[in-house]
């Protein structure tokens, strides 16, 4: 593990204003995440874990505190910079897959790369094919994404998250819409990605899913309740092939 953190948050706050007044979703969250970590963020609904993920993934800005990503302070980045960093450095996996169902698996996986102007079409094709192969779904490359099963969809989504060789992959309840077997397979893929050196930040409310990670940050009422390493990770093989 390198010394310099990939992600460093200090006293992160998020205050939402609406008609009824204001909601304090984050009340001062601080932690560091180093390259190569597999972190699960857990908490009950309303705890602020989704808000935290949105800020960490540059989709939202905090109302207080500081967030430094790869040495760059978010305060000093424009919306354009944030889009660029999301494009080059971050991968996203969502609970509801968020695939474009009308287009092929290939085009779905290629989506982040079309916003990378300087990438040659040939190189793009190669990277998309590699990403699809890495989640073992090559035979579906030119099939419309809408025609896949839930588990297959989430694998496509993982390929899309990988295709830009991101510094960090954010997974927001990636197993939430899957049956337990598909869910376990998805977690297995994430685990092997982690073994290859990828940094993964997982948000979940299921203890079972969180136990695939190496570190658990528990959020409660907008604060870090606990931040502990997981001594013994769960593995897919133990579940289904014992």
């Amino acid at each position: 593990m390198e010394n310099k953190p990939l992600i460093s948050v200090r006293n992160l706050e998020k205050l939402y204003y609406d008609e009824g007044g204001s909601t304090h979703a984050l009340r001062g969250v601080s932690f560091d995440i180093h390259p190569g970590e597999f972190v699960a963020i857990m908490g009950p609904s309303g705890s602020g874990k989704s808000t935290l993920l949105h800020i960490l993934s540059f989709l939202d800005r905090p109302t207080g505190g500081s967030y430094v990503f790869k040495g760059r302070d978010m305060d000093h980045l424009s919306d354009q910079d944030l889009a660029l960093i999301r494009n080059k450095e971050m991968g996203f996996i969502f609970q509801s897959f968020n695939l474009l169902s009308r287009i092929s698996v290939f085009d779905n996986v290629a989506l982040p790369l079309i916003y990378e102007y300087d990438l040659k079409i040939e190189k793009r094709k190669k990277r998309v094919e590699q990403a699809i192969a890495s989640v073992d779904i090559s035979e579906k490359t030119y099939i419309e994404a809408g025609k896949l099963s839930g588990g297959q969809k989430q694998r496509v989504a993982i390929a899309r998250a990988l295709v830009n060789n991101p510094s960090v992959i954010f997974a927001d309840e990636p197993t939430g819409n899957l049956d337990s077997k598909s869910g376990a397979q998805v977690m297995d893929i994430l685990q092997s990605l982690h073994k290859e050196g990828n940094t993964i930040i997982l948000v979940t409310h299921e203890t079972y899913t969180a136990e695939f990670a190496h570190r658990l940050i528990h959020i409660k009422d907008g604060l870090v309740d606990s931040d502990v390493p997981i001594k013994k990770q769960r593995h897919l093989k133990e579940e289904f092939f014992k």
Binding site: L59, R86, F94, N98, Y115
Partner: protein, 414 residues
């Protein structure tokens, strides 16, 4: 986002829901094809009119009795049915003496009943001299025209148009036959070549030309002329000859103050520009009406694009999450509406050209007019520009709505 990716993304979205795309395009197709059709009809009408005015003869200046007050286009009193007796033989003689003037052909007009056997019809006759034929481009196809000695010796001969020849004589060859015009017997000396409807709305095939002497003295009982057609030499500029004709006429009528002119002079250019401005106004008017359908089509596009933006809220959120900037999203939706209107415009041009062809074929083959085919390049260019511009104009608001979406709200949208 590269242009290639923008176009691919937009065309994917458009081809996915073909019926919706087609119906959305339809407004633009109809708008553009009607613009093309109306601009082409305007251009055809203008060509037709120019052809007819030039068909009257070349280098012509018309002298009409009575002054026209105000603009050069206002009608002289004589054309409003007021009898003005100021154009006479001495004017013709004075004009004829000028070296810049090749011919000065006087004419008188009247209405009469023409009778041959059991056939009769009411018709316009024109009393003319020999040089009228050359001056006004009236070609005798069968037989021959009458000459000045026929005019001077009051010979009752007539040259008739092909239409009236058919009406009166049917299948007979009229040359050499006699018919009655206002109970005066005329012998047909020649038949005119087919000429169609003239620039002044007169059917030039349905007229009878008789010696001016008989028309004046025996049929109308007058000693003045209704008009003089002056043919000027090629070697003089028309503005120069026009002013020459003015000064000759003023000298002949002893007029010193130009405001007291008792005659009006019209050149072919005057007539062309008058008719040209009428057709231009009509074309502009009709094209503006067609533009209303373009606006309606554009609003249709805006409406569908707004629906599309709402339907694809999650897609917008996803694209933003994976790195699309606001301008990437704006471009994507703008391209979609521009592609819609561009192809709508393209189909509209083809459809409009097809309609122009149909109108041409119907007018020429079924209604038998001298309609001229015209599909002006400016109509096509403006159709392309206007349809693309419509796409930008009506696509901009929905595209901005899409670009402005907050990625988190968009991703959560159900």
């Amino acid at each position: 986002m590269r242009l290639y990716d923008s176009l691919k993304t937009s065309s994917n979205n458009l081809t996915h829901s073909k019926m919706r795309t087609f119906l959305t395009m339809l407004g633009i197709v109809i708008g553009i094809s009607s613009v093309i059709l109306l601009m082409s009809i305007g251009a055809s009408a203008e060509k037709l009119i120019i052809g007819q005015v030039q068909g009257v003869g070349s280098n012509l200046v018309f002298v009409i009795p009575g002054a026209s007050k105000g603009s050069r286009f206002s009608a002289p009193a004589s054309s409003q049915g007021i009898i003005i007796k100021t154009l006479t033989g001495s004017d013709v003689d004075a004009l004829q003496r000028d070296p810049a003037i090749v011919n000065a052909a006087p004419e008188v007009r009247g209405q009469a009943k023409a009778v041959f056997g059991n056939n009769d019809t009411n018709i316009t006759y024109i009393g003319v001299t020999e040089n009228f034929f050359a001056t006004r481009n009236f070609v005798v196809e069968k037989g021959q025209n009458f000459n000045d000695s026929d005019v001077n010796s009051f010979n009752r001969v007539a040259v008739i148009g092909p239409e009236i020849a058919k009406t009166l004589f049917g299948d007979f060859n009229p040359v050499g036959k006699s018919f009655r015009l206002n109970d005066i017997s005329f012998k047909v000396s020649g038949i005119l070549e087919q000429k169609g409807v003239g620039a002044f709305g007169v059917d030039q095939d349905n007229i009878i030309l008789v010696p001016i002497s008989i028309a004046q003295k025996q049929m109308l009982g007058i000693d003045y002329y209704n008009a003089i057609s002056v043919q000027v030499s090629d070697s003089y500029a028309s503005e120069y000859t026009k002013s020459r004709v003015f000064s000759i006429m003023r000298a002949s009528h002893r007029i010193t103050d130009p405001n007291k002119d008792d005659f009006t002079i019209r050149t072919q250019e005057d007539i062309l520009s008058l008719l040209g401005s009428i057709t231009s106004i009509l074309t502009i008017f009709l094209t503006s009406i067609a533009c209303i359908s373009l606006v309606v089509g554009g609003i249709g596009i805006m409406n569908i694009m707004l629906v599309s933006v709402i339907e694809r809220t999650r897609e917008i959120g996803l694209r933003k999450a994976v790195g699309a900037t606001n301008s990437d999203i704006l471009q994507q939706f703008l391209w979609e509406s521009v592609l819609l209107t561009f192809f709508g415009g393209f189909i509209g041009i083809l459809f409009g050209a097809f309609l122009v062809g149909v109108v041409y074929l119907v007018l020429v083959n079924i209604i038998k007019t001298d309609w001229v085919f015209a599909l002006p390049a400016q109509a096509i260019i403006s159709a392309v520009v206007v349809s693309t511009f419509t796409g930008v104009l009506f696509g901009l608001y929905p595209a901005r709505q899409a670009a402005k979406k907050n990625p988190i709200d968009a991703l959560r949208y159900e």
